[in-house]
């Protein structure tokens, strides 16, 4: 009787050990599956965001001048967007928030004035080219051929 109880206790202990091992294995498998699902979900979400942004950019330029100005606009938007990331992080930390806001403002003012200047120049050149193309060729001045000779 005593021996039977002992054997039963050993069997139950063994079963518990095996069950603990199995639960641990299943927990690891669940965590791995969660990681795979998260990665897949985020990959698709990033891809969709990328495609939407590209479509929005593609729809920017309509008129001829807009098309000429488009590279500057894209560079400007990209610069703003990329620069905003570290600023946003630093602005969310109380210790660096105040200083960062001032630096961010100065950065934006300088960057925008530079881009405005580039944009203005590009538009000016585009206007000159357009006017040059629209103006009919001048008839030769009388006597010009004799002067040249």
């Amino acid at each position: 009787m005593w021996l039977t109880s002992l054997v039963l206790a050993v069997v139950v202990l063994g079963a518990t050990g095996f069950a603990i091992h199995e639960v641990r294995r299943q927990e690891l498998a669940t965590t791995e599956l969660q990681r795979i699902v998260l990665r897949q979900r985020m990959w698709r979400s990033e891809q969709a965001l990328f495609l939407t942004s590209r479509e929005r950019l593609a729809g920017l330029g309509d008129s001829a001048t807009d098309t000429v100005d488009l590279p500057t606009a894209i560079t400007r938007f990209s610069h703003d967007a990329i620069a905003a990331i570290p600023f946003a992080v630093l602005e969310s930390i109380p210790a660096t928030a105040d200083t960062t806001k001032v630096v961010h403002q100065i950065h934006d003012e300088i960057a925008h004035s530079v881009y405005d200047a580039i944009s203005g120049t590009t538009r000016g050149i585009a206007g000159l080219i357009r006017r040059g193309l629209a103006t009919p060729a001048q008839p030769p001045r009388p006597g010009a051929a004799e002067e040249d000779a």
Partner: protein, 122 residues
């Protein structure tokens, strides 16, 4: 003696029941995740130039190496000092697991979807 064995058997049966329940929960979670994965399907193929632009650049990862795990453990728990003297590796493992958990929680608060894992170097 027989009473002691009986108590061991009863306690073990209780533990087994709890473990069985945990297995059922895990199984149902895994089934739900597999369904979600099947619904997500493979990522849609993009036109080649877009795909190239999207995948441009090298993969980046953020690594964190805790340089004072034993000190950290001692700061939070006095007994960890003793444990650190006997089994420093175990204390380091616990500190890294805790750090990973805190990082996960903090990143989630900042809307960062991150796969935070502890890598054990050779």
């Amino acid at each position: 003696m027989q009473i002691a064995v009986l108590i061991v058997v009863i306690v073990n049966l209780g533990v087994l029941a709890l473990l069985g329940r945990r297995m059922l929960v895990l199984d149902s979670k895994q089934r739900a995740l597999r369904i979600e994965l099947a619904q997500l399907g493979p990522a849609e193929a993009m036109p080649a130039p877009l795909d190239k632009a999207f995948l441009a650049g090298r993969k980046r990862m953020l690594t964190v190496e805790i340089l004072n795990p034993l000190e950290l453990a001692t700061l939070h728990n006095r007994l960890a000092g003793v444990a650190g003297a006997v089994a420093p590796n175990a204390v380091r493992a616990v500190v890294y697991e805790q750090a990973a958990k805190i990082t996960r929680d903090q990143l989630a608060k900042q809307s960062v979807e991150a796969d935070v894992q502890v890598h054990v170097a050779d």
